[in-house]
Symmetry: C2
Subunit: 359 residues, 2 copies
């Protein structure tokens, strides 16, 4: 790759972590990281693969003071036939491009993004756990590293990528989670930055997230900020409601993160013959639908869990359960089909899978 | 101060910057900074005064990935009788405490905040320019420096303070600025983090800020996010409208930063015999008020400018000017009175001024 300055010698590569069960999420960092710098004068400089290490920032830099930062979350999978696979990496590249534009940052060219991810995954591939469900979680991050105390876009950017080895999300079985419907605090609003993957959205979500956890729920389910009425998305997943053979998911209004798993489920479900509706859906409609047993299944979609079956929703103190709080059939079908595509076991009918290398 | 570990020897102190005119804002950094660390195990450790230098962050730290950061902006002034003064520092400490709580961060005890500011200002006092209008701009910052990739509050915090020497805001005369009323993009919404001084609010504001600048305006004037109708605040100032002898300013709904200058103007104006109303005020009411000449003056309030006379507002392509785009009498009176208190020239009737040291 001609955008890289230096390669790490092979003998510096550590052996990978072996204990799949204790992997968890975001606990085990690989050896290397990728960094690439942009300045007004020079544009994008050559990228570098180097040891994972702390980075040095001016305390007055725009990423620290004004949170000018966007990121992505994506995974690399080990396929039975020995390949290392990425899932829709160009869609992550595209989303980060858009996020960067919204935050007035110099975007990373999409092909550079994907190539950089591939180069880093290659050099860190020994860390890729081989059990199904495990993966490498890849975190590309673009930061405003220059100083502009007067609230302006940074004159300098750093694009870095690091990787953590992650365990199977459903290591204790494919079970339902329940969500806490937050009706006062909000995550984002139309006209804001809710559809960009930027740190500030997550900082803003912490308080409601802690509240949900204290009440015993796994994530928040956010409502729209204007009317506190329409369902938006969960803490780190988009949300689907299954009405018999029809899937309903909130339409992208501008305040919701356009999840790549969400898009994949929409396409896959349509391909499997299910009807899919993207529309506004109010919390009252959902609660009624659950009570009337019209909503038969619910699930969240996101890179971390792929598909997380949702059993209950707690709204204004009352928790209602769909499908007897059991994993639904369509949920399970979609999960299996999607995971099989991601792990290279089923045919890649949508052209979503990229091979990085072989192990 | 027993919360500090080490003092910088006096002979290490550089001489201060002499060229007041080219000071600008955020250009000239002083020699030293203050840092203080909090961990779950040890709580707040002793703070440290040290050379201003880049800090080291894990790329996966919560401040970088999820923008868990809050900050303050405040000034130190040189008084004619040779003292170094702070203006309402305990109010900055209180606001940062609240901001931190909203962002699920360990707040800095208010007395520690103020003492740390004082210690740093003392050691950097040779940088304090002596011309009226100039000052030290102080930037206390609290950051989530620990790693928690799973979107949780940081297990570690760093409280740092740094200082820049700043020139007079109105070095080319006390003139009006014009604001661009943004009617699509929004800064914050009720239920969000608009009333916290957190980086994400500023990242979200960059795009509209650039747009306003390109159109030739100095800042954005934000409308509420629910109805795009009620005036909130400007890019880095709160806003006041003068109707004859009455001042009207948007009430604090939860999405507006509760400015310390705003509060000072409210108290000072009331003391001077003006009527002050804090209430919802729509952009239509303001445009009509300007056209009908009921609104006689407008001004913004913030630490940077103290009071910035506002001449025109551009709304939906039309710019309307109040008071013939000249600086209003009440605006000027309030500016002079407030600045005189800040610089220790007028009696400190409200108990707002803290003496740090003498030069
Ligand atoms: C807020 C939020 N919504 C939705 C998603 C799902 O997006 P994706 O499917 O691209 O991972 C994520 C990220 O994982 C998220 O953080
Ligand atoms: C968004 C915003 N509003 C208002 C203000 C004014 O606040 P203060 O008077 O405390 O400086 C500021 C900060 O300067 C600000 O950034």
């Amino acid at each position: 790759m001609d955008f890289l300055t230096k390669k790490i010698p092979d003998n510096e590569l550590k052996l990978m972590y072996k204990d799949y069960d204790s992997l968890g999420f975001g606990m085990i960092y690989t050896d290397y990281m990728f960094t690439m710098k942009w300045t007004k004068e020079k544009g994008w400089e050559k990228g570098e693969l180097k040891k994972y290490e702390p980075m040095s920032f001016d305390p007055a830099s725009v990423v620290i003071q004004y949170s000018q930062e966007v990121f992505e979350g994506m995974k690399a999978y080990y396929s039975e036939d020995g390949r290392v696979l990425l899932f829709r990496p160009f869609d992550n590249a595209k989303r980060m491009y858009k996020s960067a534009e919204r935050l007035c940052m110099t975007p990373v060219p999409e092909d550079v993004f994907v190539e950089a991810v591939k180069e880093l995954v290659k050099i860190d591939k020994r860390w890729l756990p081989k059990e199904k469900g495990t993966s490498l979680y890849i975190r590309p991050t673009l930061m405003g590293t220059g100083v502009a105390l007067g609230v302006h876009p940074s004159p300098e950017y750093n694009f870095c990528i690091f990787i953590t080895a992650v365990g199977a999300y459903f290591s204790s079985g494919f079970n339902t989670v329940s969500l806490y419907v937050e009706d006062k605090l909000v995550r984002a609003v139309v006209g804001g930055v809710g559809d960009a993957k930027t740190g500030g959205n997550y900082a803003a979500s912490l308080l409601a997230g802690l509240k949900a956890e204290k009440e015993g729920f796994s994530q928040v389910l956010w409502l729209d900020a204007k009317e506190n009425k329409y369902i938006e998305e969960a803490g780190s997943m988009n949300i689907f409601f299954v009405y018999g053979n029809k899937l309903v998911t909130p339409k992208l209004t501008g305040s919701i993160l356009p999840g790549i798993t969400r898009d994949s489920v929409i396409k896959l479900a349509a391909h499997l013959g299910y009807e899919v509706e993207e529309r506004n859906i109010s919390i009252d409609e959902v609660v009624k639908g659950i009570k009337d047993k019209e909503i038969t299944e619910m699930f969240g979609t996101g890179t971390a869990a792929v598909i997380a079956p949702v059993g209950g929703l707690c709204y204004k103190g009352e928790t209602v359960y769909a499908g007897d709080n059991k994993v639904g059939k369509i949920t399970e079908e979609l999960y299996n089909k999607l995971v099989n595509i991601q792990y290279g076991e089923d045919e890649d009918i949508f052209g979503w899978v990229e091979t990085v290398d072989t192990i």
